[in-house]
Amino acid sequence: MLILIFSITFALEYVENIMSQKVLLNQKEVNIILHRLACQLIEKHTDFSNTILVGLQPRGKFLANRLKALLQSDYNIANVQIGCLDITFYRDDFRRSNKVLQASTNEMDCVVEGRNVVFVDDVLYTGRSIRAALTAIQAYGRPSSIELLILIDRRFSRHLPIQPDFRGRQVDAIDNEKVIVNWKETHGEDNVYLIKQ
């Protein structure tokens, strides 16, 4: 019995060591950051008449929807246009990664030609998704400008010369750490974790 208890305690400690998680942002902090990002967008895009927020599938969609709702409810900016862009077929790691690529839907019902596009995603890591998105958006037209809004910017991890124009929080995470962003819509509350693997 004693051996069993010891071994369970040891196993639990081991699991804790290899999978420890730290809260990077709690619900309140996420909320403050969302308000700041919304204000920064207003500062640049005023009434959003020529702007489209494009959430990058699958996870950027939540942030884009949240920003749209916030701009509408707290800052009286109605009719913020949003779209969702899937980059699966534009990625550069097709056949090069063990991870199977699964596509999401594109919801690009608005005209992109001549508009100011703001890509919206939760985490900026290597920058390769953004490179794919820059190619993917061309299938819908030639935007007048493209900017990048990111909730979490993992600096020191970039493979490409890509930097955000609007940034929620910058974190220094090493390669075997993972940043997880949870949204109210899917996990019941907003928070950001750093998980060590």
């Binding site: 899937d86 699966t88 077929f89 534009y90 990625r91 097709f94 056949r95 090069r96 199977v100 690529l101 699964q102 596509a103 839907t105 594109n106 190619t135 061309q138 299938a139 819908y140 037209g141």
Partner: protein, 309 residues
């Protein structure tokens, strides 16, 4: 499931229901892509595909080629009529010569049943069967069932009748396998001489009266009489075949319900189907052609993802 259980598409009988589901879901994405102003994605830019057609084809060949080009693959085309096959070269020699030019995938149509499976055992490339004799034509069955799914939302529980020359049709056999995997009830209808004996073992309903078949079904898939594969006469005359098994507006009006009409092409207007029916709203023949590109993009993409870089 996010990857196919097979490395080659030789026939529907080697697939699982989940494979077909994955192909359909992937095709949904490609269907959206081929309706954009820019209809191309760069996924397969480092893949080379050879289309080997040892038998005539218009739709399938063009559909495969356009699907491959939409995925940015490099494409080479080969027709037996303009090749060294006429000089006596064997199939394996021909294909191995083509593979020496660093080809990753082969799409092949061949008049002999089992040609694709034979090729797969002897050459090192991904094989897609684009029709082997009277055996299988998997991408046609996939696009047919995909079109039914698009029309009704599901294939499960639907009654589908395949009308015409079942004996010589690879489309019929692949369709039977695909429809049954997806949970549809299948009936075949045609003159007794054009219904093979083995068909009873596949668990399909056999009917010789077209009107009864139409009253039973939700979807009628009309097949062409394959005169080029007939060494003897299987029915007295084309006129008599048309009278018994030709789909006319009068016949459709008489069954008292609206059914969906499909045809894999090429259509012999006035034989198995009248122009009035083929061009009517009930016919989804041109939707099938559009879906064919999306389905072939999906199959090519999913098989290419299994090629090691």
């Amino acid at each position: 499931m996010s990857t196919l259980s097979v490395d080659h598409l030789l026939g529907i009988k080697y697939l699982k229901a989940e494979d077909i589901q994955l192909i359909f879901e992937t095709a949904d994405h490609f269907k959206e892509i081929i309706n954009r102003p820019i209809k191309k994605v760069p996924s397969l830019r480092d893949i080379t595909i050879a289309n080997l057609f040892f038998e005539n084809s218009t739709r399938t060949k063009l559909s495969f080629e356009i699907a491959q080009k939409r995925l940015s693959a490099d494409v080479i085309n080969f027709s037996a009529s303009q090749s060294s096959v006429k000089k006596g070269e064997t199939l394996i020699d021909t294909v191995n010569n083509i593979l020496s030019m660093k080809v990753d995938m082969v799409v092949m149509r061949h008049p002999k049943p089992g040609a694709a499976a034979f090729l797969q055992q002897h050459v090192d490339a991904r094989i897609i069967n684009a029709g082997d004799g009277a055996h299988e034509h998997p991408t046609q069955a996939l696009l047919d069932t995909y079109s039914i799914r698009e029309k009704f939302g599901t294939v499960k529980g639907k009654n589908v009748v395949i009308v015409g020359d079942i004996l010589h049709s690879r489309v019929a056999l692949s369709n039977i396998f695909a429809l049954q995997l997806l949970g549809a009830q299948v009936m075949v209808c045609g003159p007794k001489s054009l219904i093979p004996k083995y068909i009873y073992e596949l668990g399909v309903i056999v009917e010789t009266d077209l009107k009864k078949a139409l009253q039973w079904c939700d979807v009628a898939n009309m097949l062409r009489v394959q005169n080029e594969r007939m060494e003897v006469s299987y029915f007295p005359s084309v006129r008599e075949y048309t009278q018994q098994y030709g789909l006319t507006k009068e016949l459709l009006d008489s069954i008292g319900k609206e059914i969906v009409i499909m045809h894999p092409g090429p259509i012999n207007r006035g034989v198995e189907i009248t122009s009035e029916v083929a061009d009517s709203k009930q016919a989804i023949i041109l939707d099938q052609v559009e879906n064919g590109v999306a389905i072939r993009m999906a199959v090519t993409y999913l098989l290419a993802s299994k090629i090691e870089s």
